[in-house]
């Protein structure tokens, strides 16, 4: 865990949620440097404050469609080191795609429901700030479901669990924690998975997560 406080911008058009997020973020030892309610506000706030991470609602004014998402993608194009945590009321694979497509990591996409858990939010922000990728389990579940043609069938149930957690952006240690197994067991599962789905093992960093996602999305 980093000792310095993460500098965060909150962008959500609902005052209710903005307030809730600000309180939550300060509990998570983040410094909220700005809170905005629309897409243009997000862009100028990012320019002004250069935060570590922007927590952004997908749907925001002015058009109330995916303004937040587009603004976040635009902001990342200008500030390569900007982390983005998208929040949405819905799981849309295309939202995840838009964020992941530059392949640089430092992004996350969670359902709004998840953020009530302080640990979850805090973990996600740290992972993103450290250059990783965080995906909501729902998104991963959809990715797994949308892949029918099936090297996946060759995986054992436990290996599928590990694959899903990898896709969510968890580290080996976090996966071991979650499944209550040893780190060695996780590594064994992972090399077995990679062998079965025919991917090179890239170690345990964000490149591995992106490779898994790319593989899940292919076809």
């Amino acid at each position: 865990m980093r000792s310095d406080r993460l500098r965060v911008i909150v962008a959500d058009d609902s005052v209710l949620l903005r307030e809730g997020l600000i309180r939550l973020l300060s509990e998570a030892a983040c410094e909220v440097v700005a809170a905005v309610g629309d897409a243009p506000g997000l862009l100028s706030a990012v320019d002004e404050h250069r935060p570590d991470v922007a927590v952004v609602d997908v749907r925001m004014p002015p058009t109330m469609t995916d303004d937040g998402l587009r603004a976040a993608v635009a902001a990342r194009a200008q500030h390569a080191d900007l982390g983005v945590l998208m929040l949405s009321a819905y799981v849309e694979l295309s939202y995840a795609d838009a964020l992941l497509s530059d392949g640089r990591g430092r992004v996350g996409y969670l359902l709004k429901d998840r953020v009530s858990s302080l640990d979850r939010l805090s973990d996600a922000l740290r992972t993103i700030a450290a250059g990783g990728t965080v995906l909501d389990p729902e998104v991963v579940a959809q990715l797994l479901v949308s892949r029918r043609a099936d090297p996946l069938a060759a995986l054992t149930p436990r290996e599928r669990e590990v694959l899903a957690l990898m896709a969510e952006g968890r580290s080996n240690a976090a996966i071991a924690d979650q499944l209550v197994v040893s780190g060695g067991a996780v590594e064994k599962h992972i090399s077995s998975i990679f062998a079965k789905i025919n991917l090179p093992d890239l170690g345990s960093d964000n490149r591995r997560v992106l490779a898994v996602l790319a593989w899940l999305k292919s076809r």
Binding site: E27, D113, S116, S117
Partner: protein, 412 residues
């Protein structure tokens, strides 16, 4: 007897009036037509032809009216609206019925000349015949009638003959006039009724109203999703945040945990209220259970502007009833939000083929279709049941919104 006399009067009036109409239409149309054709190579000729068709159209409408007056009803023609501008006007030239109108003007003129003379001759001859005994004494001497030529030179025979002929004419007047009117009717039916175009128009109108209804539906669903997203969903997310924040403080800071739980409870209540409002907006239960009058009364009671409600026993189809309800709901919402009125009234009446919904207030006016999404949405919603909407709302008020919904005849 009186109805027969009225029938004769109407037939006669229709025939007599038809002649000058047919004559003038014939003259104007032939002049315009020949000029128009002559000048067609110059652009202006086309406009003269359009004018010619318009005159023919008016004459045709007038004839329809006259025939209708005499009891021969023809289905109305819908002249398509070809849109504004020069091109719109010129499109009239491609409208088949307009040319049939012109042909009708030509034929009807000839027929009218005959029917006018016959009708006038028959009636005048008949009336003259039966009053011959009176006015014949004023005739100069030496005037020989038909009986004298046949060898009955007496005055009595002369009078008797004229009376008999007059009586025959009078007695046969009703069928003759009737026949003449129907002769016009046959020609008119052949040329002035355009089943195909009427049907086509109906289809296109139905398609339009269906599209509008579909759009209204999509619009409503989208709005519903947005309302769900902005209302209950946000509140529930925040509720989750508050509860988990309270959980984290239960041990260390019970006082703040309690405050957070109070807040969470308030959020849950608000979320419930949001959902209640939304479900009422989707399909108000009271409308299905207790009908329009109760539902509208409930709507009026919910508002803060005192509103009187007057709903008669009009029976509407389910779709029409829904539309009527949402018209009133939207109108009253507008009264509440924008009008600054101190009183409003809702009236729903079924008269003849229409249900008329009137929502009026004594507020500041200035409402228009263009301004609010809501009113345009209502037009679409009404379109779905073939209804229409008009608004009178001058700046300074008062505002009156009138919606009409056709009452569906169950037999049709």
């Amino acid at each position: 007897m009186t109805s027969m006399i009225r029938g004769v009067g109407r037939n006669l009036a229709a025939i007599l009036v038809m002649f000058p109409v047919a004559l003038s239409a014939f003259v104007v149309c032939t002049v315009l037509f020949s000029t128009g054709v002559g000048l067609a190579v110059l652009f202006v000729g086309l406009f003269i032809l359009v004018g010619c068709l318009m005159v023919a159209g008016w004459a045709a409408q007038m004839t329809r009216f006259l025939l209708g007056y005499a009891g021969v009803s023809l289905p109305p023609i819908r002249y398509p609206n070809h849109g504004p501008g020069v091109l719109g006007k010129l499109r009239r030239l491609g409208h088949g019925q307009s040319w049939r109108d012109l042909l009708f003007v030509l034929i009807n003129f000839a027929l009218s000349t005959v029917s006018f003379s016959v009708a006038l001759g028959w009636v005048v001859g008949g009336l003259g015949g039966i009053t011959y005994w009176f006015w014949s004494s004023f005739l100069p001497e030496g005037n020989q009638g038909v009986p004298a030529l046949l060898g009955f030179p007496s005055r009595l025979a002369d009078i008797a003959f004229n009376e008999v002929v007059g009586a025959i004419l009078v007695v046969t007047t009703p069928p003759v006039l009737h026949g003449l009117v129907h002769l016009h009717g046959v020609i008119a039916r052949g040329l002035l009724v355009d089943e195909t175009s009427t049907l086509r128009e109906q289809v296109s109108e139905l398609t339009q109203s269906r599209t509008a209804a579909g759009e209204a539906e999509v619009h409503t669903l989208r709005k519903l999703e947005r309302d769900l997203h902005d209302g209950p969903q946000q509140r529930l997310v925040r509720l989750g945040m508050d509860i988990s924040a309270a959980q984290r403080r239960l041990e260390g800071d019970p006082a703040q945990a309690r405050a957070l739980l109070d807040e969470a409870f308030a959020q849950s209540q608000e979320a419930l209220a949001d959902i209640r409002t939304l479900s009422r907006g989707i399909a108000p239960p009271i409308l299905a259970e207790q009908g329009l009058r109760a539902a509208v009364t409930a709507l009026a009671a919910r508002g803060t502007v005192p509103t009187s409600v007057d709903v008669d026993g009009v029976v509407l189809s389910e779709a029409a009833q829904n539309a009527a309800y949402f018209v009133v709901a939207e109108a009253l919402t507008n009264v509440e939000k924008h009008s600054r009125a101190t009183h409003a009234s809702v009236e729903i009446r079924g008269g003849g083929a229409l249900a008329v919904i009137t929502v009026a207030d004594n507020g500041v006016g200035g409402a228009s279709m263009a301004k609010g999404q809501g009113l345009a949405g209502l037009t679409d919603r009404l379109g779905g049941v073939d209804g229409g909407l008009t608004i009178s709302s001058p700046p300074g008020g008062p505002t009156q919104l009138t919606a009409t919904i056709p009452l569906q005849d169950v037999s049709s």
